[in-house]
Symmetry: C2
Subunit: 353 residues, 2 copies
């Protein structure tokens, strides 16, 4: 190994779900929204003047923060925006998790958490979920340098009631507690209102799922102004201009269309509830998902060959080759037509009882 190579930071990179190209694929592997973004986004796109691209964008992303402020009824100084919720979460790890004590997160959760912790050399410990893959607030009552969990959790899809979240936040007032609400618009209670009573609580959300804007990379956090200022300080010390003009304008347009947002998440929730019935009839078991995906295992069929067979049929779902999760498939909720294709294939594929 050459000498300069010894100083390269060694990391275990996260492997994102495949992004296969091609028409007629049924893509149920990355929890995207099956519907396009609001027509207001198309309008904003058409009104965009490319001559404006020559200038640096507003570093405070004012237009986007303002739109979020109006939507959620939260003051602008309580809102931070970033390049997808991964950027917001990574920035939050770097900003808030600087203790010698380990941060805590569930043993089954978003696989990026240990990756960020290792990248920034933050000590971490996992808190075991029970046999039903549930999180228990009791387990978060021990010394730590911070707490993070998704609600609903991924990839289980299970949501924690507001009272139990409050129990975790209240028990950890010496640490920053982050609730990662990537899927909250599909079910469960948002902890956003608790940020008024608990100044150590940061709630993170994304435009990638319920707002159908994964391609534009927009995420945000809500918390007390001290937390938000600290995040902005770290952001400005890293890259002052993270949010492109396009992300700011198109993101603001997406937020403004409340009616479209409500309609599209209602449709996805309806399809999900129907999917629970169809998948149960096909012999799958699963935690009761509150998200836009279902984490399912089959009573008789093995997950990995099923994943491969689906893929060969042009139906992409997610399979995690992770210890403890080998029997499971994560199936994103698509349109009704896409889900029908999935059920039809599985009916032919699965062994009869």
């Amino acid at each position: 190994m050459r000498l300069w190579e010894q100083n390269i930071r060694r990391v275990k990179p996260y492997t994102p779900g495949e992004q296969p190209a091609g028409k007629n694929l049924v893509k149920l592997n990355t929890n995207e929204n099956p519907y396009p973004p609001s027509p207001l986004v198309e309008k904003a796109l058409k009104e965009m003047d490319p001559a404006d691209f020559r200038k640096y964008p507003d570093p405070s992303s004012g237009v986007l923060v303002q739109a979020l402020s109006e939507f959620y009824g939260v003051e602008p100084e309580r809102i931070f925006v970033g390049v997808g919720s991964d950027d917001v979460l990574g920035m939050a790890f770097l900003t808030f998790f600087n203790s010698e004590r380990p941060i805590l997160f569930p043993s089954v959760t978003y696989s990026f958490y240990p990756v960020w912790a290792d990248l920034f050399r933050i000590p971490w410990e996992t808190v075991a979920v029970d046999e039903q893959m549930r999180i228990s607030p009791e387990d978060f009552k021990r010394e730590n340098g911070g707490v993070i969990f998704p609600n609903p959790n991924a990839p289980t899809g299970l949501a924690l009631p507001l009272a139990q979240m409050e129990e975790i936040v209240a028990a950890n007032q010496d640490s920053v507690v982050i609730v990662d609400e990537a899927y909250i618009d599909f079910g469960g209670d948002s902890a956003m209102e608790l940020t008024r009573s608990y100044e150590n609580l940061l709630v993170v959300q994304t435009f990638s799922k319920s707002r159908a804007m994964a391609g534009m990379r927009i995420g945000f956090a809500v918390g007390n102004p001290v937390l938000i200022r600290a995040l902005n300080d770290v952001k400005y010390s890293y890259n002052s201009y993270t949010m492109s003009l396009a992300a700011q304008k198109l993101g603001a347009a997406a937020v403004k269309d409340r009616e479209y947002f409500e309609e599209s998440r209602r449709k996805i929730i309806k399809t999900r509830e129907e999917a629970k019935k169809s998948l149960a009839e096909l012999g799958f078991t699963f935690p009761d998902s509150q998200t836009n995906f279902i984490f399912a295992k089959h009573m008789r069929a093995k997950a990995e060959p099923m994943f491969q067979a689906l893929k060969e049929a042009g139906i992409y779902v997610r399979y995690f080759k992770t210890t403890g999760l080998e029997d499971w498939l994560r199936i994103s909720i698509g349109t009704d037509e896409e889900m029908e294709k999935l059920y039809r294939f599985l009916k032919g594929y699965l062994p009869r009882q």
Copy 2:
């Protein structure tokens, strides 16, 4: 101070140049391109389908990397792209500068370098520039954990000849050497060709100046495939999807228009050379800039009140309240009309000899 506040990372955030809103302003404070991006960008913008935003973008930014590969005649595995060159540089600090020894950069240089180093807890030392603000290769021949310098340097505008850059790279083959070429399209020799002979060399460029795309946040690095893979590993471990679909498509469109690019940088270089004459006639002295800005001080007028007077007249230039730079103004090269407004104002403002 509350307990959780003690674990917040303390940083000194970089202060970007003002982004004043309003018509008829002459904005010569952030080194933006005074001309709009290529008409191919407008075409690509019009062809963009907002329905595609619902999906995650290609994490490898294939379409943008391919366009850069064709433009520069460099294989795709030698190219890394990021959210502006600040993102690329920050990622490079995090990836390559993990030694106990200090990294080296010039004493007068881009003010983000010490900020990133402090953020990632990288030890650093500066290498003094001489009275003419020049960098000397000799000074970089000492033990270090990495080297970074802009070429041309900012805010001096001075370029180092290729042979002297090679001297620095050749003398530091145990470290990664980064040449930050934000302004290279306006003058000086690119070190890109040296990346074939020196595997420890990384060259970083941006779309924010010569390609008039500051608003879209696009930067890139060229280096040997081991360096690029290491950068991608760290990037994927932080945020798999940093480049939005819009940045990828519009960026690729900007790169494809070589003729427009050559024409627009030629115009800026011409205006800069005329600005040297006009500013000299007005009593300014300055290093011989090879960039799209001139770093100037006046023989009789103080910089700070002049900066304020210009601002009140709607003409924004950059003033750094930094020790050693109190006498200087950094003036970006605008259109000929904008520069005329600047000269006209200064003629009236400056004291007669």
